[in-house]
């Protein structure tokens, strides 16, 4: 058991040091290229322009379009979920299965404005700076 613990401790430090070094040397580098980014849970979803944008890296310029609440409301299910937060519109379909609070939390805001829910974590507090950086990769436009 002691040996197994030692192996895991060493592995832990190797990964942590590698990540920290990579961040120092290649701060904007990623491990997965854009084609391998978070995949949709339902591959059959069809949302042409948004899909292209949703998989864009935050470090690359993105052509943002103005999107109305009416248009957002059409994308109201797990397999095709848009929502607006703080004036920006996100296609968070690929994020299903990854939210620490579970899918149900996000599902109910599909097709709606989720600014309040996002800011207050449904009354639980604030999202971290990390969560905010994560959100950027799902940005597809600005609220009209």
């Amino acid at each position: 058991m002691k040996k197994t613990v030692l192996v895991i401790v060493i592995l832990f430090f190797i990964i942590v040091v590698t990540v920290l070094l990579a961040a120092l040397l290649l701060p904007s580098g990623t491990l997965l290229n854009s084609n391998q980014k978070p995949l949709a849970t339902n591959d059959s979803r069809v949302s042409s322009s948004s899909e292209t944008n949703a998989t864009n890296n935050i470090n690359q310029p993105v052509m943002l379009k103005n999107i109305s609440l009416v248009e957002i409301s059409k994308h109201n299910k797990i397999s095709d979920c848009w929502m607006s937060m703080e004036g920006s519109v996100y296609d968070i379909t690929p994020f299903f299965g990854m939210h620490p609070g579970g899918n149900q939390i996000m599902e109910k805001y599909c097709g709606q404005d989720a600014t309040r829910a996002y800011q207050t974590q449904d009354g639980h507090g604030n999202h971290s700076a990390y969560a905010q950086s994560l959100l950027k990769i799902y940005l597809i436009g600005l609220l009209k």
């Binding site: 058991m1 002691k2 197994t4 613990v5 030692l6 895991i8 401790v9 592995l11 832990f12 990964i15 942590v16 990540v19 920290l20 990579a22 961040a23 120092l24 290649l26 701060p27 904007s28 580098g29 990623t30 491990l31 997965l32 391998q36 980014k37 978070p38 995949l39 849970t41 890296n57 935050i58 470090n59 299903f96 299965g97 990854m98 620490p100 609070g101 579970g102 899918n103 149900q104 939390i105 974590q121 639980h124 507090g125 604030n126 999202h127 971290s128 700076a129 990390y130 950086s133 994560l134 950027k136 990769i137």
Partner: protein, 441 residues
């Protein structure tokens, strides 16, 4: 029937306590279809990270609950030393799971950037998340010290105590994060109860125990020096007398003695029935025990216990082999004395006293004297410097009907492990082997 009962006694504790740690996983799995938890590589890693965190924290709580050292564990685990064995197993698995928790969760940041990954691993001003960072950092420091640095018992014990703080921070982290625990009220309730139980156990052992744990007050009345390294201390009750079975052990603290005034485990080396007295035999192992000769007659001590199920009296089989390695002979001293008093002619016992050389067997003469009055009792002295390490082959050559006997082993962990393996490969059932390691750390 007796065999089934013994197997049950040995597994009931581990099963019950393992269940406590697995229940949160069941809640977690019930919350969402498994397909949604593992639809692609990144999400699967995130899910593994969540399980690792949940399971790690639950096991950490279970490990703390076990460290409370209450009498109930002596029965649930068939000896409190086996409860400590499981405490170590649960603690080690919890540590590994909690190390994997952030590593798996880094997967979330992979599509963003290495900078985001580094930010995720370090504190960033968000209380809930940062508490996790501080809890794990403290845990790494303390457990690396515990597991891989050979510390003196007193320093080890003091540093080990701070793990309760790491647990408290980790518990807060789990409850403050917006996670599955926040979403599912049942899981939240269960985790709150488990964390509180862990903290109660921690406070019971570290602080409240001072008032709550029953202790017997004894006084040192005699010192018998057997050799430069081995001394027997005779202790007499100043108040209530502690009842015990030959072979059990106690935790004892001597007042105004030892830098840390810490409590230490020792086997009782005398049989019950000596009015108000019992003895412990201490070998100088270079740590706390090196000061034992300096202790003065009249020193008051608090004894906690007795603990353990290591006694020939807990076995129905009267044909037995006893093997004591080094200072592991002490519980057998008590058992031998008990045999003298019992005068039961049905017993057939062979005792092996194993050390490196004959100079490390200062108790041999005393033991020989006692065996003279007991029928069917043989004493073998084994010195590894002349005869090599003691093996089951060696025992088989000296003792008849080995396969019909119950085995009692006490001594250093490597000796016990090796002999156990050899006995099992000879065809002896595990339930027939009773063992006690001289290691409660």
């Amino acid at each position: 029937m007796k065999k089934i009962r013994l197997v049950f006694l040995k597994i009931v504790g581990p099963i019950l306590f393992s269940l406590l740690a697995f229940i949160p996983i069941v809640f977690w799995l019930e919350m969402m279809p498994i397909k949604e938890r593992f639809p692609n590589i990144i999400t699967s890693f995130v899910s593994l990270g969540q399980i690792a965190g949940l399971f790690g924290l639950s096991l950490f709580a279970v490990s703390l609950i076990l460290s409370a050292r209450i009498k109930l564990y002596d029965n649930l685990f068939f000896g409190i030393n086996r409860a400590y064995f499981w405490h170590r197993i649960y603690g080690s698995i919890a540590f590994m799971a909690l190390l994997m928790h952030p590593l798996f969760l880094i997967a979330r940041t992979l599509p963003i950037s290495f900078f985001a990954a580094a930010k995720f691993l370090l504190p960033e001003g968000a209380l809930g998340k940062d508490l996790g960072f501080y809890a794990l950092s403290l845990m790494i420091i303390l457990l690396v010290l515990t597991l891989f640095v050979s510390l003196k018992y007193e320093i080890w014990k003091s540093s080990h105590k701070f793990l309760g703080i790491a647990f408290f921070l980790g518990g807060l982290h789990s409850l403050l994060m917006y996670s599955d625990i926040a979403v599912n009220p049942w899981l939240r309730f269960y985790m709150i109860v488990l964390v509180i139980l862990g903290l109660v156990a921690y406070f019971y052992r570290t602080i409240l125990g001072y008032w709550l744990i029953k202790k017997y007050e004894y006084q040192l009345v005699e010192k018998k020096v057997h050799s430069e390294n081995v001394t027997t201390l005779v202790l007499e009750a100043t108040g209530e007398v502690m009842k015990y079975v030959a072979g059990q052990f106690i935790f004892i603290r001597f007042n105004r003695f030892s830098l840390f005034n810490e409590i230490h485990p020792f086997s009782i080396s005398s049989a019950p029935g000596q009015e108000k007295c019992f003895q412990i035999t201490v070998k100088n192992l270079g740590d706390y025990t090196s000061n034992i000769n300096e202790i003065e007659i009249g020193t008051v001590a608090q004894a906690e216990g007795p603990y353990g199920k290591f006694s020939f009296e807990f076995s129905n089989n009267k044909k037995q082999i006893w093997i004591g390695g080094g200072v592991g002979i002490t519980p057998f001293m008590a058992m031998l004395e008990r045999m003298q008093k019992l005068n039961d002619k049905d017993y057939e016992i062979d005792l092996y006293y194993c050390t490196k050389n004959i100079h490390e067997q200062p108790l041999l003469h005393d033991l020989l004297e006692k065996t003279k009055t007991i029928n069917n009792f043989n004493l073998f002295s084994h010195c590894s410097i002349d005869q090599g390490r003691v093996t089951v082959d060696y025992i088989n050559k000296n003792s008849n009907d080995l396969k019909d006997r119950d085995i009692f082993l006490c001594g250093p962990a490597p000796m016990i492990k090796s002999l156990k393996r050899q006995f099992i490969s000879l065809g002896l059932s595990r339930t027939r082997i009773y063992s006690e390691e001289f290691n409660l750390n």
